[in-house]
Every structure is written in structure tokens, then in C-alpha cells.
Amino acid sequence: MISFSAVTKVYPHGIVALRDITVNIEKGEFVFLIGPTGSGKTTFLRLIYREIKPTRGSVYVMGENLAKMKEKEIPYLRRKIGFVFQDFKLLPYKNVYENVAFALEVIGCDPDEKEARVEEVLERVGLSHRKHLLPYQLSGGERQRAAMARALVYDPPILLADEPTGNLDFEAARGIIDLLVEANLRGTTVIVATHNRDIVNSLRKRVIVLRDGALVRDDKEGGYDV
């Protein structure tokens, strides 16, 4: 599904964010990506949705070599990948419904199908009763649910989450993780970068640990600490 082969990423000014990473993530896996701040987690995720290119090595997503991917093909790659970020990235002037629908409008989905799918996904994340509210009128947990709905509405085979619980209390974080697990049970490959020790420890999923850009641990059913 996703495979890194000897990937090194050097940012401008010679900052090495990832060094020589080789890792393979199969279809349907649930992976936690952990490591101290600045260890390269976000960089790892950005490589997968082709926000950036590796400096050396290659990244394959669903059989495609992203380094060779043409600029024009990137949108189609992104339609196979859902994203959730710590800061939600919702459009402030669109309500919940419109924010989710936006993701479908952008890919040219027809209006009837759009409505059905948005309603369904809002139901799934438990936001149907909040769909007419604007992001600022929602709690942090609800905002992240809206972002989840937007990521899930086009049924992507891959879901990336960068510290999705970073701004949430324990309860809200739990709710978001449940949604991620549920998506994973439906067959979506999920990668979550996180600092949340409790959640990593309680789920016992695959854990990939980065430190200073190097892969230092990769456990099948791992915990936060060794």
C-alpha cells in the first residue's frame, strides 16, 4: 500500500528531517507514528500525499512512484487519501455541512450524490445535529469530527492523521480515535502521528518510532515506550 525505500529528506538549509527510512505498510493496517518533536513525523506524512518529494530514495503509494508522479496527477492521488490535522483546517465561513460537501464539490461530484454522502458521513461521526453551525461555534472535539467527516466522505483507501488529538481533552480524543479505528475496520489504511501515550498504549497497534529522522523501532503490537 505504502512503501518507503531508503528515503532521505533534506529541507533547505541542510536540515535532515528523515534519514534512510525503509518501511512497508500493508493495506488495512493501523499504524501509530511516534517520536519526539522534530523527529520527522509530519515530514513522513507529507511525503505520502506528495506535498514534498524525497531528496533520495523512493516513496510508493498504491503502486505508484511518487517521485515520478506528474504535477497533474497529484490531485488524483489526494482523492485516495483523507487527512486530519491538529488544527482541523476547516474553512471558517462554511458551516459543517458545507465544509464536508466542499471535498466532494472539488472533485466534481453531482449534487444528489453529494447530499446523500454528506448526510451519511455526518451521521457516522455524530454531527448531524450540528451541521448548520460554523466551525467557531463548535467544541474542539466537534471540529475534529467535522474534519474527520470531510476526510472520510470520499471513502479514501488511506487516512492520514497528524496529531488529530493534539488539541483535545481525553474524552474528545477517545472519540476521534474510535472513528479512526472504525474507518480502519472498514478496510481503510490508517496512519496516525501522535504524542498521546495513553491511546497508543491502550490500542496495541503497530508502532513506528522516529528519532532525529531515523527509524528506531517498528513493533507489531507496540506501546509508546519500550
Binding site: R78, R79, K89, L91, F102, E105, I107
Partner: protein
Amino acid sequence: MYKLKYFISEALKGLWRHRVMSLLSIITIFLVLFILGVFLMIGANVRFAVESLSESLEIRLVLKGNPTPQDVQRLYNSILSLNGVKEARFISRGEGLRNLAKELGREDLLGLLKTNPLPDVFEIRVKRASDVEAVVRSLKGWSETQEVIYGKEAAQKLLAIQRFLIYGGGILGSILLVSALLVIFNTVRLVVYARREEIEIMKLVGATHWFIRFPFIFEGVILGGVGGVLAFGALILSYGEAVKVLSSQFPFIPVILETAVLYKLCGAVLLLGLLIGFGGGLFAVQRLLGKVAME
């Protein structure tokens, strides 16, 4: 079809959401285009006036001896074939004397003189002041020519004015045009820049570049178009008023009254607005699209 509707409605929503900025940019575009239009109109009118004056520049070709009607016809043809000549009129010595008598108010002049002392003359008008010198030079070379009389100083002054208008006006006009382009371009760019977050999210959820571009291009075109239409209307109206005032206060100043010319000028201003709106929108969104694609 569904998409076109989507693009237009997104563009309108975008403009409305940022209505203060949109309004400000429309005003800016309007003002810039209006000033440019005023300048163009003044320029066109000054040129028109100078040309009218040039037409009243007159060259008198005084002929030697007694040319036959055939000679006169031949000379007439030669004169018209000279570059820059607009029209020529033959005035025989007889006609000249009658005119003179009329001017002096002495109808008996013909009787008083035993012989007609006046020569045969061609009155020649040129198209432009700059043609005078060349025409005069040609005429002087002819064997039938006794003398060439013309307003040398007037011609030279007009010529200087024309040169000044062409170069000065050209420079000033270009400066004005370039600043108009820059101002409008930047205004549209600012409007688009206010929307970077939206573009980032669109890219993230897999919108193609064209899909992202269209609403912004529409926005640019709408901004430029509305500014242009306003400038068009204001120019036509204020020109009418200006002409009214001018022709009652200074009736001797020649002005362009032909509406086709005016509409063409104002139409050019409108088109300019649309084009710059389009270019500004496209360029701005292109910059934002390019940014993340780097690294």
C-alpha cells in the same frame, strides 16, 4: 454545465465574503480606468484640434506667365499626386481679382485697372502640418513655379506641437497605462491572496489546478469588468457634459463629436479592465498554486 454554475456561484460568494475588499478593488479599478480614459479622450481631442488647424494651413503656388487650361489641368494632377496633399483649388487671375474687389468693397476695381496685375494661383491644403515642408520643396522645383507662399512659422509651430503630443503623449500615456495595469493587477492579486487558506484546502482534498483556478479567474474578470463598465459609463457621461461646457464657453475649440470614436475609446477601456482582471486572477492563483508544489 453544473461545473460552470459552481464556478460562477463560488466566484460571487467569494467576492461577497470579501465584500469590503471587492468594493475597494472595484473603486480602484474604476478610478484608474477612468483617469486613463480621460487622458485618452483629452489626447484624442488635442490631436483632433491640431489636425483641424493643420487643415487650415494653406500653401499658395503662384504660377509664371500665362498657363493654358491644359497646363493647369496637368499641374492640378501633379499637385494632388504629391504626398500629404489633401486638396487643391485653382484660382485664375480673373477670379482672384473679383475676390479682391469683393474684399475691398470696391466693385468698380475691375474698371479702374487696365490690366490684371494678379497671377494665376493654386491654393493647396495638406493633411498634416508635417507635410507642409515637403510639399513646398516639391513645388519650388517646378519650372512653372513663380513663387510659393505659405505660413512657414505657423507650420513649424504646429509641427512642434504635434511632435510634442506624439512623444510626450506617448510617454505619459504609457506611464499611465503601465501604472493602471499594475494597480489593477495588484488589487486583484490581493483579493486572491486573502484566500490562500481556501486554496490550500482545495489542493489537499484533490482539486485539480483548473478547478481551483476558475473561480478566481471569474472573480478577477468580474472585478475588472464591473470597474470597466463603471468607467465606461462615467466617461461617456462626463464627456457629454465637458463638451457642453466647452462649446458654450469656448466655441472656437474644435472637439470630437463623432460618437463612434468615443465608444471605441471607452470600449477599449472596458476591455482593458476585463483583460487585466483575467490576467490578475490567473497570475495570483498561479503563484499560490506554485508555492506548495516546490521543495
